[in-house]
């Protein structure tokens, strides 16, 4: 039972990270490898800011800094390269990942850094007869809050409507008079802000290291692809399923645990090439 909750925690965390990618992919149709780098940077920024300002201010700082970087990323990378083949942008973000890793390694060193949960969430509660850290439940709560906020925003606001339209067909959306460039600056900022948020919540879950981004980005892409590339619901379902099985795998068959997400993706795409909730091509 505890294992299932652990799976839920990992799935929630994956969702927060992956949904940022889905947002960016929906608008810009780019494979953003730098997302892993931003996630890692977000973890370090909040770690540094938390040293003088506390965990919550660190979280806010991380989201704001990363959102700002997202605007820059959109303006100076995605927009100028929008007319090139998608692989060009992919490789630029791949290069960015290297640069970010190296920068973080230079500033904070390559050793693992562990982060404590904030005092308010440091304790544990009894669930199903065993002690369980409150912080992990908080991660689930964050994911639920993010999912709910996104759902409300996407369904009820005008910008949300544009974002949804654009994730189905960006060209037609632009033809209808939506300024997709301005929209995308906002959406990419939200996406990278979410990377900052997930970096912050990852701090107490796992140790910080410069390579944490490259490590997690693969699972994250698997979630996005399995979910159907531009589908928010699909990403949610895929993150929870993959998080669950990944964690069960770690607990019961550790030898092959890291292959399990790949197998799930292969299975889903074999049956449904467009992903769990993808639009037909």
């Amino acid at each position: 039972m505890i294992q299932i909750i652990n799976g839920l925690v990992y799935g929630s965390f994956l969702y927060v990270l992956a949904v940022g990618l889905v947002l960016i992919f929906g608008l810009r149709r780019v494979t953003n490898f730098a997302h892993g780098g931003f996630f890692m940077l977000g973890a370090y920024v909040s770690y540094a800011a938390a040293a003088w300002l506390g965990f919550w201010a660190g979280m806010a700082a991380s989201v704001v800094v990363l959102a700002f970087l997202g605007v820059l990323l959109d303006r100076f990378v995605f927009r100028p390269l929008a007319r090139e083949e998608p692989i060009v942008t992919l490789l630029v973000t791949f290069g960015l990942l290297f640069v970010l890793e190296d920068a973080v390694r230079t500033i904070w060193g390559k050793d693992f850094i562990s982060v404590d949960a904030p005092a308010a969430l440091a304790g544990s509660v009894v669930i199903f007869g065993s002690q369980y850290p409150v912080y992990r439940l908080f991660v689930i709560a964050v994911a639920v809050a993010v999912a709910a906020a996104l759902a409300v925003w996407l369904r009820s606001s005008r910008i949300g409507l544009y974002v949804r339209a654009s994730s189905v067909d960006p060209v037609t959306t632009a033809m209808q008079g939506v300024d997709t460039d301005r929209l995308s600056a906002l959406v990419v900022a939200i996406g990278t802000g979410l990377a900052g948020l997930s970096g912050t919540i990852a701090g107490p879950l796992m140790a910080l290291s410069p390579s944490m981004g490259a490590y997690i980005i693969i699972d994250c892409f698997i979630v996005v692809v399995t979910g159907g590339l531009t589908s928010f619901v699909g990403a949610f379902v895929a993150a929870l399923v993959i998080g669950q099985f990944h964690n069960l795998g770690l607990a019961y068959v550790p030898e092959v645990a890291s292959v399990i997400p790949l197998l799930i993706m292969g299975l889903v795409l074999g049956l449904r090439p467009q992903g769990i909730a993808g639009h037909g091509k």
Binding site: R83, V259, Q274
Partner: protein, 337 residues
Amino acid sequence: MNGLAVARSSGMPGSGARARVPSFLIAAAVLVAAGFAVPLLVGSQLALTLMTQAVIYAILAVSIGFLIRQNGLASFGHAAFFGMAAYLMALNGRFGWMPAEAAVLAAVALPAAFAFLTGLIIVRLPALSFSMLTLAVAQSLHELMLRWRAVAGGDDGMAVRLPSRLFGVGIEVFQSPATMFVVCWGALVVVIALLTVVARSRFGVLTIAIRENEERTRYVGYRTLAPRALVFALSAAAAGLAGVLFSLYNAFVTPGILHWSLSGEALIMAVVGGAQAVWGPALGAMIFFIVKDAAGDLTEHWPAIIGTLLIAVTVLLPQGISGLLARVAAIAPRRKP
């Protein structure tokens, strides 16, 4: 607009091309000959070792570039074919399933067959899904070899046991840098020549048409699935050949050759070199190795340097360095129409 740019830069038989062919061929011949002369000119064993490695990876990069050029798909898991071939050589050395010569052929044929069959399913997917699935295959193999301690040595890898003679020449030919460089250079030249012929054939032009618009090509009356799978298979065969050369030269394999960082590096080489020319990725591999070596000596920040190089090249020269050279060559003799 993409289509136009591609047609212009991908060497479609056009008016300007025919006049350039002789000078181009001469340049190519000089370059090939210069390559064969390298072991005579370079005395340092260390430099030769590095250059031999670079040429082996150049073959891998060319195989990825061919896939990008003909199918418009980026494989994130080409290390799978490279490693599959190398591990087949190693496992055959251990179990003696077949003579080493047959194993060399099998190590090229197996990745090709595997790629063709999986290709029939996965080349239909969106580009990102394709990339992720190739990655999935490679990482699964990586994991398998990492865990398979009993036979494949797990993390430690395994030695490749080879007979004392292969294809009638002593095995030391494949293991000393000076002679192996010539073998690998020859293999690289043959691979580039064959893939260039394929790319310029009817089949090559057909796959480009499919890449540009699969639906329309189907309406014109062509089958579109098998050609794409076949391109994937050819690319995998070339990657397998690189893996065979690697296993002969190093006589040792580790799971590292299946890891996605190798696939990623090969992809970087392909794009820096520019995949619109079949030979472009080979150039990219050379540049990658030179930069890696120079940067590794000077500073520990080589990831940042290679990352910056990657960003600079892709932003400034989306067609890669070969694209730049082709443009210069096109302007020099006479203006393009």
